[in-house]
Symmetry: D2
Amino acid sequence: MSNIVVKKLERAPINETPIEIVERKGIGHPDSICDGIAESVSVALCKMYKEHLGVVLHHNTDQVELVGGYAYPKLGGGEMITPIYVLLSGRATMEVLNRETGEITKLPVNSTAVNAAREYLKKTIRNADLERDIIVDCRIGQGSVDLVEVFDRERNAIPHANDTSFGVGHAPLSITEKLVLETERLLNSDAMKSEVPAIGEDIKVMGLREDKKVILTIAMGAVDRYINSCDDYIKVKEIAKQKVEENAKKYAGDFEVEVCINTADDDKDCIFLTVTGTSAEMGDDGSVGRGNRANGLITPFRPMSMEATSGKNPINHIGKIYNILSNIIAEDVAKIEGVQECQIRILSQIGKPINEPKMLSIEIIPAEGFTVEGLNVEIEKVAQKWLDNVQSVTDSIIEGKVGTF
Amino acid sequence: MSNIVVKKLERAPINETPIEIVERKGIGHPDSICDGIAESVSVALCKMYKEHLGVVLHHNTDQVELVGGYAYPKLGGGEMITPIYVLLSGRATMEVLNRETGEITKLPVNSTAVNAAREYLKKTIRNADLERDIIVDCRIGQGSVDLVEVFDRERNAIPHANDTSFGVGHAPLSITEKLVLETERLLNSDAMKSEVPAIGEDIKVMGLREDKKVILTIAMGAVDRYINSCDDYIKVKEIAKQKVEENAKKYAGDFEVEVCINTADDDKDCIFLTVTGTSAEMGDDGSVGRGNRANGLITPFRPMSMEATSGKNPINHIGKIYNILSNIIAEDVAKIEGVQECQIRILSQIGKPINEPKMLSIEIIPAEGFTVEGLNVEIEKVAQKWLDNVQSVTDSIIEGKVGTF
Amino acid sequence: MSNIVVKKLERAPINETPIEIVERKGIGHPDSICDGIAESVSVALCKMYKEHLGVVLHHNTDQVELVGGYAYPKLGGGEMITPIYVLLSGRATMEVLNRETGEITKLPVNSTAVNAAREYLKKTIRNADLERDIIVDCRIGQGSVDLVEVFDRERNAIPHANDTSFGVGHAPLSITEKLVLETERLLNSDAMKSEVPAIGEDIKVMGLREDKKVILTIAMGAVDRYINSCDDYIKVKEIAKQKVEENAKKYAGDFEVEVCINTADDDKDCIFLTVTGTSAEMGDDGSVGRGNRANGLITPFRPMSMEATSGKNPINHIGKIYNILSNIIAEDVAKIEGVQECQIRILSQIGKPINEPKMLSIEIIPAEGFTVEGLNVEIEKVAQKWLDNVQSVTDSIIEGKVGTF
Amino acid sequence: MSNIVVKKLERAPINETPIEIVERKGIGHPDSICDGIAESVSVALCKMYKEHLGVVLHHNTDQVELVGGYAYPKLGGGEMITPIYVLLSGRATMEVLNRETGEITKLPVNSTAVNAAREYLKKTIRNADLERDIIVDCRIGQGSVDLVEVFDRERNAIPHANDTSFGVGHAPLSITEKLVLETERLLNSDAMKSEVPAIGEDIKVMGLREDKKVILTIAMGAVDRYINSCDDYIKVKEIAKQKVEENAKKYAGDFEVEVCINTADDDKDCIFLTVTGTSAEMGDDGSVGRGNRANGLITPFRPMSMEATSGKNPINHIGKIYNILSNIIAEDVAKIEGVQECQIRILSQIGKPINEPKMLSIEIIPAEGFTVEGLNVEIEKVAQKWLDNVQSVTDSIIEGKVGTF
């Protein structure tokens, strides 16, 4: 299709650039907690709508505000003083009118949302006691009344873009990006939590690469109940460091990696000790869309979208769908032989079907011996296939299979 | 002591008056839910303060606002649409300053309060799912900074009245009062819930006595998941009615008792069906101190205090202590041979020790063959004994042994 | 009509009883602030409904929770540290469905409520800065969807009682009651505020009468910006005392009156100084229905209803209408020659027209030379006239002409 | 200094790249409203701290959640149904302990914040009635107790970086960037509002440039009270379009500019009509840091920081200071003869003085006839001067002179 444009990406391959900064806010970081709640709520609403009406109704629950609590961590186990407060907001269709019968049916939007948020928190912040440590409040409001018959009629149609907006994505990840992503994944893996339960979920990884050296700076909350002494704490840091270093070898290629954990620790008092494993317990606030982009990373040396992906409706919200789609297409394009790097941008037109973007720009760095012209056709085919199947992206999101932060 | 005054109660014995209205809002009524939460929070704070500091610090948590939810009950089991919202407020000492070290220690007031409220709700509203049906929020604020050493010094002293206020109480209960109280207790007893789980906790009993006939009008929420048909519902009402009638015989003496349950039911649609067993699920709001008085009843034909008893601090809050104390003294006085009825009023003086009320007025109806003058001395002795032991009342409240609503 | 019953009130005239306690929480007391807001909101909603639809729709806004703030009053003018937080809740019809067109119209319930509350606060708490000292939040929820055509059809019908409940009232006020009521009115009058702006609105008056001596104990918040020294403060108290004493002479008859203002003041520090004129600024919480009854007083030696009058809908809520009606009838009955005192109780039957109470009991003390039998007919006529005109009571409430606290 | 690095920017001049997307969310966009409130609150707190203690204490008020309201705009003037709800959160020092006297003083954080937010809203959303259309709530919490003497001691020291983070900035703006920025400024200028009061503040401008053609897509809320017919509405759009086109000529150079306003308007019903001039009135939520970057723009084709600049403390918060500083330095560097474009990145080291960043990277495109090597010294001098005067940046922010969104 004519609105797919393939071009050469006019820069050096990412791993050969002189400097790179990459960050990931782990799942227990206050901003990521909000992202995770927002997406959980959206997924739960999708499910609820489908159960009640067979279709997903309009909603955007990409607004969660986390107000930090107050805690007294202490060696051996402290306590929360003031609970974390989480406000769910956003919009969702709360009632449907059956025009024939004139009956209005309300839908369990708020109770579903509260439930989804609490379940997500229980699963994610393992050491928080949801009965006393976190308050989940809800002010999700109503959009307009949706008419069931309209949705029925359009059930098989391609939804129209909600806005003039765009998504961006790239593949493959740079070495630094992989290192940052996999470091957090390792530290927040079930295996690691079983082995070292003292590692909390609030793990922020910043990777700074200068030429061929990457420094991974990790801020990692430790859980006080598993730590009885400063020695214990130091041991936890040492184990974590060692595991991260080992893991890094898988991704580092010929880059040198240095790992620094909790560099702000002062030898005596000021250690990153927590009751619950997250700094949200002690005054760190969070909200949706201020942390990781759809690919799980913050990459200031790459194009980024400001759109919060988490919590948006997966039916017609460009800010969600095109960011996710960009990454998916980029990954597939990058698998094509001869494509070294791929950068995607998709621009919507408000009111047009989402499979007809105004522009789908694909920039690639061809591998040695390949040219854009030679790869053109295959790349366009991959992109077009995804546009044709855009609703499969929606389905995957609804099933909770797509990461958004 | 000279401020104890014993007088004759100048009216006919209560059971012989022409008319009496008595009401009890059961434990699942929105106002009673708030009373119960308020008192649970206070008891939990007392315990927390004692654990942390050895003394109970200042607090008044007699402010709970319940904003009703929205529900779709249906035969066989419906669902909550919008959760009930519960706001805890009031005052509590949140930090203590150690003047010697200059260190400030915060106390887990809000997390303790939230936890106490949630535990109370779980226990009391058996069919509510605390993970989706009820939001517990907290805005308990700080009073002033309390100084630990001051409390230490005064630990054994008699606290001083916080206000110029009063308490009232009476004994024994009239037949109508007993009928109302015991009807609700029966319907909310564990035995009844096991036998007829469809009976919800929101049970309001109004007793109207005209001469020797008592009509007990009962509004009783039924829990939808245990009721599959209108017939089921009718059966539940019939069983309840029969049980109440049986139970009433124990208390009715020679009074005739008529029992009416859910009189507003319309044969077809409008039955009192609930998801959770309380009308709080469907827009009925509640707050502290608007329902039962300290003896568990609303008795507009008797003197009543407007003070909310639940949630007030049990150390020096007259509105709590004197209302409870009045009932306790009245019960003991009523046990004295020759006392047919007893009515107590205790008036405080702000700033004076709580065992030195400005006035403790005892009005009695002597039994036939007895006189106030003859009973005077013994009655005063009973009253004085309780004033001397006023702190045992405080202790019982702290231990959660005293009913407040 | 047969359900109006006139009887003799079997007690001594109120002014001849040995003891009486009467209290009034002034308009600036946290509980009264809530009552006033609740009623303002209801009146504003009535007006809004009439403007939009020509009829008053269902609502009960008798739920307001005030969470006290934190203030630093000081001589010459201090400041609020943490604003007072006011939560409006309750129920109101938020949308109407036109069955013919199938259109749903939303009504400005929440914005009207917030506006009414803020306007009321501005008018009532003169020294509070609504831009920084008070937060007004709103969680008024929806009841069920009301159908306009139903209301239209029934517009001229007598509404049916919403509950089995009752109202009580009496007249005339006792001397002590008048003293308490008029003392607060004087201190909160425009004239007084112009003359002595330092007198805040939070004025609690307690009258304790023993035989023929009445002690008026007044707690009165002073406004710091008008007070530059302890001497100023003492002068304000002296003027207030003198004015109250003068005013008391009009109502005291041959009773002796003693006036005590701010007895808890300690000569040095602990004076009742405020920034805004209300203790709500410093941790005193409030809610609806915990203070004055419909006649403006708390009278524990008289029958009282526990029902909150303020904020309830004036169309069919017995807890509001019958309490107000009882006082109105009592006043009219008390004007009949030969009636010394009158005590009214009206009992409703849920689902029956509000002009057909189950029982309207009138108890009187006849003046010397009169009998119940002789006054019977005229009294019944007065009562029946009010039942016939019960909707005029509703109209007066809607117009904001009836006091509710 | 050795940590200032000047390099060549390896890309074509921005105006010569094939495509560019630039967006600005105008001051009335829900996200920008939150940014503006957050920054206003921070500026007000700075002022309050200085007045009370002479120094700015720790705070981060970069958390504002706006929950959209519900409105019925209509030609000639509609009304708000449900107010917009604004929750202020974040952290601020709320009390100081004087170690010598042991006295704790609370600071008016919450009342100052509420006041600042309301004043900002009044000024910014001209057509909103703060008495009924917007609720401002506050849950700003306490960090830790700050000790005044510590701040005193360090008053003149350079603050230390609060985090390992970075800022980015560039200059000069591209033509497309200027067009977008100046279009919003024009439409939200006082002059424009006087001339065409129907133009609301919620104006989103998206600029899409392909080669030498820029399409400016403008979403612009119109204020209903100034619009009596569809013709009026169309006229407002036409005037706006014409003004924007005229204005664009100043910035467009040889680029062609096309202006589209409210393209989603359907000729009949679906026009962008509002009561208050912002989509926040009808369900559009907002929060801090999700819109414009520190330079007022969203530029996905440029490096961007994810950090929210608005509301952060201007003393030591890298996410604020370095983003602003980057732009300031870039502007000064771009003024140097021979510098065509400049891109800055500043990377902090947690715990190090903020005038000693880990790296200050300056990338430039030299003008024809110039080289990086030749410009090196002068560029470094400019950068170093700003590092040496970093506190003047702080001062400007405190004085409210620096834009943050």
